[in-house]
Structures are given as structure tokens and as C-alpha cells.
């Protein structure tokens, strides 16, 4: 028996994939053209004809990826994949190298992040390989409460786990270039100390054995620059998050397998839950500025795809380890949060257009950039397609009613239109069927076959309801990006908080009105021919209700109790996720605010803060502060903590002399010279939240030798 040659096999797969998607698109296009045969063609029809191949091509690509993935699943995985190469036979003998686990944070839920680090630490410790790993919490937080809490949480972790010198904290004063800048800052400062870095998001968690195995894979395959895992979405309690994590679990895997089969060593990088070889990353992957006139818009917002492209341009491979277990992330808890995220991603993906024709970028990366672009551009194209299709349909109906002879009426009856419709439905829904088929052998892990099938039916109905809503929003985001409206990188909400009905009515109410108006217009102009549009209009009308209901925590709990949308990680919680679910962990996080004044009052919080800030700033040694700073100090004392805005507070906290001076003044000034709010803060100081949650801890049970 001959072993397949990797290069030949890759070429065959790509030929099949590109050939297959082209063939399907051409077939669809031919069916569309034939459906017009013998009929009058109006101007709107030409728009439909031009846009059709773009949209049908996207559907064909998705279908083929699922088909490839299903085939890969049937044969038990890709024998040519990096994670199935001969090195796995002697995996334990592959040495490990110095690895940094880098967790960039930006105003995140501190207790959730530190709990995640603790779980990963404990999991790594069990592997006996802790000596090779260090953790870096790299903060860009600009919320003073979060900053002070992060410092205390870091100290708490170090004390609790006896991890001084193994878990580090770094706060950037200027958050230049968002997350990619944060990671680059780590690389510039400490990159040389490590061979690899495991990049995580604030909500990401990876088990120790997975990290160890991934590092071994990198060590055994020096040609690999990035090894990306396929993180499973977990810990959802709201219906929306549960639906997302369910579809990710049931359908996501075959798509990933399909992508991996086609992409092979030119895989994707999603910016987290991945291992990166640091030296080439430093040398080749700093993001170039975009060649746009406005200096404020030259930074690449969505960095991961471009970093993967630059890594491959440098001659390194990028792989997706799609079936590595114990790599997790959390999804957005509701539709509004997903839209916030999509707005950022849309702006980022559209920027990638610049790299589509850049020299030196590999074809596989160009394809990824194209697919990423089309993920958002498809929405306005669909919208135009639907409008043009409706107008064309109206024109045709009028023609047939007023101008057509009997021969025209006969020629309008074509078999191609239903065939095209059925083909489109098959391409859209067959991947779902394949996903369910691949999950069925493990139905028990989804709560049984009945629950799996019922959940899939409801999830499909939900996706039909949500797609038209997203189409409108994404079209708006594309327009925003094209018009150059600035998109800011904001903190992702990860708590399963229910959306108020009023918020849903305000944010989605216009879609309801649009849906009603469009339905009335369609009935008036198209009559019964508008039935195929009704589903879209209904989805628009129901948008506020859909958003509100899918965010309901109570409904989420009921779905959970009924065993709907269950995923394997929910029925059998992996060790590394224990205690991270909101009801038994971060939900009880600190909710009182503000926390930052304790950096001025509490001696311990202040000591932690000063010891960190002082390592970063040179002391003025009692010199007189700048007049603006002196003014801030006075305002703070006389008008209280609420008198300053976030930026002013950050400025005060960055100055160690000011922090110390304020500590002395706030304690020693008579009541008459202090704002009344300070007295209550002073009274609570000995039992403040930061002390209780983080600083007064039991000593670690293990000594340093236990690492």
C-alpha cells in the first residue's frame, strides 16, 4: 500500500474544492439564466443576474466545506494532518520549551479571568510540566476600578497558588493598537525569553494537557509558525448563547474539518486559543500600517488573519488542530452583544481588502481574506438582490397582466426556477443534516437522539429568524465602514444578562416597522407572488421579540432543564471549566463601585498599586506636581471620587507621588475640608471588597518545590 504524498493530496483536495464550487456556481447560474428564457428581462433582472453568482458561490463554498468535513469525519480524520504525523507515536519523548501563556485583557470581568487562570494553572500543574510555562496577564484596561481590581487579583493568584515569578502582570499606560499592540508589547519586552506563546482571550480556557501537546507539536514540527485550536463555545446560560454553542458543537466541527482538509498548512488563525512560535512572529508579523490618508485609520483592527498571512509569507506553516479537546471560549450572551462584536469584525474584515492583492501573500490566505470579506459584504448584496428580485417580479407581473399574449404566458412556465430553489435549499440545509449525522453517534452527550433532533429543528428555525435581522444590521455596518465612521474596540460582555424589553424595542423596533411596511407593499404590488418574501418580513417584525426572548436568563434555565441545546461540556463539565459558570463563580463577583478610591485609602491596596506603578515610572522625589495634576488632586479631595472622569482618575493613579500624597491628605484633613463621601469610604476601608475578595487570603498549601 502506498502512502499518499502530502503535496499531491493537497493539490487534489484544492482542485476538487475549487472545481466543485465553480461547477456548482456555474450550474446555479445556468439554471437562473434558463429560468429567464423566453421572458421579458427588465433592468432589475440584470442586477439579479450579476449578483447571483457571488451569492450562490458563497453558498456552494459553505456546502462543499461541510461535505469535505463530513467525508473526513467518516474516514476518522485526516491522516496527513499535523496532529496525526509520526511524532505522535513518541509524543511523551518530545521535549518542551519555554512557553508564555499570554492573556490580554481590556476591562474584563476580573474574577472570571483570574478563576480561568487558576484552573489552567492547576491543570498544568497536574501534567508535571509547569516549569516550562509562565503566565502573563497583559492589561489595557482604562477603567480605573478594573485596573485596581486586576492588580489585587494578580497578587491574590500569586499568593494562593504560590506563583510569584510564574504569573506576571503588565499594565500598558497607552493602549496603542488595541489587542495586537498589547501582544506585540509582550513580545518586545519578554518575547526573547520564550520559544512559544499560547495566546488566549479573556474568556478562553485551555487545559494543561492540551497546552503541553500543542507545544510538543510545535517542537516536533519546526516549520509550523502557528497552531490554532478549534475552541468549543461553552458556559452559556442565556438561550442565545446556548443556541450558538449548540450550533458550534453540532455543525461547527464538520466545517472546521472541511476547512482544514482544504487549507492544510495554510490554515486560519483566530487570535486566541493558539500557540505561536515567537521568534518568527516578532520578526515577520508586526502589522503594517494601511495605506489610507487618515492616520487614525491606518491600524489593522482585525489582526489575526493578517498575522497568519504574514507568518506564511515568512515561510512558516499555519495549522488548525480542529479535534484537540479542552480548548474553550465563551460566545456573546445576546443578539445586541453579538451585533457589537460583528460591527468590530466587519470593520476589521473590510480593511483586509488591502491585503487581497498585496504581493507575497499566499493564495490560501487570499481565499481566507476573500471569504472574510464576503461574510459581511454578502449582507448588502443579499439586500440589493432581494429588492431587485422583487422589482423584477413586479415588472414581469405587470407585463404579463397588461401586455403579454398567450404565448408569453406559456413561456413563463419554466421548470428551472423550482429546481434552482430546491438546489439552493439543499446547499443551505444539507450541511446541517450532515452535522446532525456526525453528532448522532454521540447523541447521549447531547441529551439523547430526541433532544438532539428537536434542538436542531429549533436551532434551524432560530437561524431562519435571525438571518434577515443580521442582514440588515450587517448592511448598515458595511455602509458605516465604507463611509469611514470610526469603530472602537470595546469590551465584550460575557455575563448572561437579560436584555430589557425597552432596549429591544428601541434597537430592533425599526425592523418591525420596516417588516410591516415591506409586507404591505409586497402584498399590494406582488400579491400572492410575495409569499417567498414573507418569511423575511416576519423575521423583521419579530426582531425585538427574538432579541428579548433569546437573552432571557430564565428561559435559558428552562431550556437547560428541558435538556434542549445541551452540549457535551454541559452534561459532563471538564475539570478546567469547573467553577467558571456564572451561577457558581463570577456572578458573585464584586459589584460595588467604585473600587479605585481604595488605592488611595487602603494601605494594602495602595501598596500593591504603588509597587507596580513605581516599577514603571520614575519618582519625582517630592517635586511639585504639574498645575493640572494639582488641580485634579484638589477637586478629588473637595468634590469626592465621583467628580473626576475616567481619564482624570487614570492620570492620578499613574502618578505614585500623587497617590501617596492623596493617601496622607485624605486621612489627615479635617472633615470640613473633605467631601462627605470620603468619610464613608474611610469607615469601610478596613473591610473593603478588594481586601475581602483578594488580599486577605489563606496561605498556600503547597511550597514552592511543588511546581
Amino acid at each position: 500500500m502506498t502512502t499518499p504524498q502530502p503535496e499531491n493530496s493537497a493539490a487534489t483536495r484544492r482542485t476538487l474544492f475549487i472545481g466543485g464550487s465553480t461547477l456548482l456556481t456555474v450550474t446555479g447560474f445556468a439554471l437562473l439564466l434558463h429560468s429567464y428564457a423566453g421572458q421579458p428581462v427588465f433592468w432589475a433582472d440584470y442586477i439579479v443576474i450579476v449578483l447571483f453568482p457571488l451569492l450562490f458561490g458563497q453558498i456552494a463554498i459553505g456546502f462543499l466545506l461541510a461535505l469535505f468535513g463530513f467525508y473526513d469525519w467518516l474516514r476518522g480524520g485526516d491522516p496527513l494532518h499535523l496532529m496525526r504525523r509520526p511524532w505522535r507515536k513518541n509524543e511523551e519523548s518530545v521535549p518542551l520549551a519555554a512557553t508564555a501563556v499570554v492573556i490580554p485583557v481590556f476591562n474584563e470581568e476580573v474574577e472570571r479571568v483570574s478563576h480561568g487562570i487558576e484552573n489552567m494553572w492547576n491543570s498544568l500543574k497536574k501534567t508535571g510540566q509547569m516549569e516550562h510555562f509562565d503566565f502573563y496577564l497583559c492589561s489595557d484596561s482604562n477603567n480605573p476600578d478594573r485596573w485596581i481590581e486586576e492588580e489585587c487579583a494578580w497578587l491574590h493568584l500569586c499568593q494562593k497558588l504560590n506563583a510569584f515569578g510564574k504569573i506576571f502582570y503588565r499594565k500598558r499606560r497607552h493602549a496603542i493598537n488595541s489587542k495586537s499592540g498589547n501582544v506585540a508589547d509582550f513580545c518586545r519586552r519578554w518575547g526573547k525569553r520564550y520559544r512559544y506563546m499560547v495566546i488566549l482571550d479573556a474568556d478562553s480556557v485551555m487545559s494543561g494537557p492540551t497546552m503541553v501537546r500543542l507545544v510538543r507539536a510545535m517542537e516536533a514540527n519546526p516549520e509550523v509558525g502557528i497552531l490554532q485550536t478549534q475552541p468549543a463555545m461553552v458556559l452559556g446560560r442565556s438561550p442565545f448563547r446556548r443556541l450558538l454553542q449548540y450550533s458550534n458543537s453540532v455543525y461547527g466541527k464538520i466545517f472546521s474539518q472541511g476547512c482544514s482538509m482544504v487549507q492544510r498548512s495554510s490554515g486560519s488563525y483566530w487570535g486566541h486559543n493558539a500557540v505561536i512560535r515567537i521568534a518568527p512572529f516578532i520578526e515577520h508579523c508586526d502589522l503594517p500600517m494601511l495605506p489610507v490618508p487618515d492616520p487614525g485609520k491606518r491600524h489593522v483592527l482585525s489582526h489575526d488573519t493578517i498575522e497568519a498571512a504574514l507568518m506564511q509569507r515568512a515561510g512558516y506553516e499555519v495549522w488548525v488542530a480542529y479535534d484537540e479537546p479542552d480548548s474553550y471560549e465563551e460566545g456573546p450572551p445576546n443578539m445586541s452583544d453579538m451585533l457589537k462584536r460583528d460591527r468590530r469584525w466587519c470593520a476589521g474584515n473590510l480593511q483586509h481588502f488591502w491585503f487581497l492583492f498585496a504581493r507575497g501573500i499566499e493564495m490560501g490566505n487570499r481565499l481566507q481574506i476573500w471569504i472574510g470579506l464576503m461574510a459581511y459584504l454578502c449582507s448588502p448584496i443579499w439586500l440589493i438582490f432581494l429588492i431587485a428580485g422583487s422589482i423584477g417580479s413586479y415588472d414581469r407581473a405587470r407585463f404579463l397582466a397588461f401586455s403579454a399574449g398567450p404565448e408569453d404566458l406559456e413561456s413563463g412556465q419554466h421548470a428551472e426556477a423550482p429546481i434552482l430553489f430546491i438546489t439552493t435549499m439543499v446547499l443551505l440545509f444539507l450541511p446541517r443534516v450532515l452535522g446532525i449525522a456526525s453528532a448522532l453517534p454521540q447523541a447521549r452527550k447531547y441529551g439523547g437522539a430526541f433532544h438532539l433532533l428537536l434542538s436542531s429543528v429549533i436551532e434551524t428555525a432560530f437561524s431562519v429568524l435571525i438571518a434577515p435581522v443580521l442582514m440588515l444590521f450587517h448592511s448598515f455596518f458595511v455602509l458605516q465602514a465604507i463611509l469611514g465612521w470610526q469603530t472602537k474596540w470595546t469590551t465584550q460582555n460575557r455575563a448572561d444578562t437579560s436584555l430589557p424589553l425597552l432596549h429591544c424595542l428601541k434597537l430592533y423596533g425599526w425592523q418591525s416597522l420596516l417588516g410591516l411596511g415591506a409586507q404591505l407593499l409586497a402584498w399590494y404590488f406582488l400579491g400572492y407572488n410575495s409569499y417567498w418574501l414573507s418569511l423575511i418580513f416576519i423575521a423583521w417584525v419579530l426582531a425585538p421579540l427574538t432579541a428579548w426572548m433569546t437573552s432571557s436568563r430564565r428561559l435559558g434555565e428552562k431550556l437547560c432543564a428541558w435538556g434542549l441545546f445541551a452540549i457535551p461540556q454541559e452534561l459532563e463539565i471538564p475539570e478546567v471549566l469547573e467553577g467558571l459558570a456564572t451561577e457558581d463563580g463570577p456572578e458573585q463577583a464584586i459589584v460595588l463601585s467604585p473600587l479605585w478610591p481604595q488605592a488611595l485609602l487602603c494601605p494594602y491596596v495602595q501598596a500593591v498599586h504603588l509597587s507596580m506603578v513605581r516599577q514603571r515610572t520614575s519618582s519625582r522625589n517630592g517635586a511639585k506636581p504639574a498645575s493640572s495634576l494639582a488641580n485634579l488632586r484638589e477637586r478629588l479631595i473637595q468634590q469626592g471620587a465621583a467628580a473626576l472622569d475616567k481619564r482624570e482618575i487614570m492620570r492620578l493613579l499613574w502618578d505614585p507621588e500623587t497617590v501617596f500624597w492623596l493617601h496622607k491628605q485624605l486621612w489627615s484633613l479635617p472633615d470640613s475640608e473633605l467631601h462627605t463621601s470620603w468619610r464613608s469610604l474611610q469607615s469601610d476601608c478596613g473591610d473593603n471588597d478588594l481586601l475581602r475578595h483578594y488580599l486577605i487570603v489563606e496561605p498556600p498549601q503547597d511550597g514552592p518545590d511543588s511546581l
Binding site: Q159, W354, F355, A607, K664, D671
Partner: protein, 189 residues
């Protein structure tokens, strides 16, 4: 609690009550957990402040009492921790941190500001060290030149040279393409 609003007390009593409450809150902020020790220290420091106030009645009792407490805290740290810092802020920050990390505020609260720490505790305090990051090993990470290809050339000419003639030519060209396409499809269908 603050009794300055109590009409039954004199103004002088009110300001001393205020000094007492503030001093107690300040000492409480060290989370000693030993209420008796806090009371003892509060009264002792208050007496010292009264003495100072007798010598200079212009100074506010609150300020005197807290200044006394802060001074003694600095001296206590200096004598116990052998920290030779030129700045009181550094001395206090290091001392408080050592106190926190060694848990001496819980294991030996009776010694706070009054007695030398036990030798074993001193040793553990000396070992308390806060490392927020390892030694830097600076790397240069700069973007490599990238040629954006034909799109950049096109964009540059568009941004920097808005020549109306070229725009009109382009519009005419694409209109021509559209009509050819229209004619071809009309014929084909």
C-alpha cells in the same frame, strides 16, 4: 461615629471625637482583626496628639493625630524591615506590602506599632518580594515592508489626483461595458 453634629458636646470635644474616629478608621484599615490593640493604639496616639496640640493649638486635632500615626508607622517599618528608602512613600509601600504578604497583620497584630516583630516573622517579611514581570529582554518588533500591489496604485491615483477627465473616461468605459453586457444578454435570452 462622628459626633460633631451632637449639640450636647462642646466644639473642642467634637473635634477630638472626630480625631478619635478617624484614627480608629485609619488603624482599622490595616485589617488587624485585634480590636483591643486598635483601641489601645487609638488612645495612645490620641494622647500624643493632645500633647502636641497643647504646644501648638493652631493645628487641627485630626491632622495631628493622623500625622502622629503615619509617622509612627514609618518608624515602625523602618526599624523592623531595615528598609533604607529615601522616600517615605516607598518605605510605607514596601512596609505595607511586606505586612500583607507575610500576613503579620493577622499572625502578630499585637506587635503592630508597639513592639519589634518576632525574628521568624521578620525573616518572612524580608523574603516578601513582588515581581510583576521578569527582567526585560528587549526585542525589536517592527512591521516589514509590504507591497499592497495594484490596489494601492489605484487608490493613490484616486486620492491624490482627482482628474475629472479620467473620472469621465472611466464612467464612459463602464457604461460601455454595461451596454455591451445588456445587448448581449438581451440577444441571448
Amino acid at each position: 461615629m462622628n459626633t460633631s453634629s451632637d449639640h450636647t458636646v462642646s466644639d473642642e470635644q467634637a473635634v477630638w471625637n472626630q480625631a478619635h474616629d478617624r484614627l480608629r478608621d485609619f488603624l482599622n484599615s490595616f485589617a488587624l482583626g485585634d480590636h483591643a490593640q486598635i483601641s489601645r493604639l487609638t488612645l495612645k496616639l490620641l494622647d500624643q496628639a493632645r500633647e502636641q496640640h497643647r504646644q501648638d493649638p493652631t493645628l487641627a486635632p485630626v491632622s495631628l493625630a493622623l500625622a502622629q500615626a503615619q509617622k509612627q508607622t514609618e518608624e515602625w517599618f523602618a526599624s523592623n524591615l531595615e528598609i533604607n528608602s529615601p522616600l517615605p512613600s516607598e518605605l510605607l509601600a514596601s512596609g505595607n506590602l511586606a505586612l500583607l504578604l507575610s500576613r503579620a497583620f493577622r499572625t502578630a497584630p499585637e506587635t503592630f506599632l508597639t513592639a519589634p516583630l518576632p525574628e521568624k516573622l521578620k525573616e518572612s517579611i524580608h523574603q516578601a518580594l513582588l515581581v510583576t514581570g521578569p527582567d526585560l529582554q528587549i526585542s525589536s518588533m517592527t512591521p516589514r515592508a509590504i507591497d499592497y500591489g495594484p490596489m494601492l496604485d489605484l487608490a493613490r491615483t484616486t486620492w491624490h489626483r482627482w482628474n475629472p477627465r479620467e473620472v469621465i473616461t472611466a464612467l464612459l468605459f463602464w457604461a460601455g461595458v454595461y451596454f455591451v453586457f445588456y445587448w448581449w444578454l438581451s440577444g441571448a435570452l
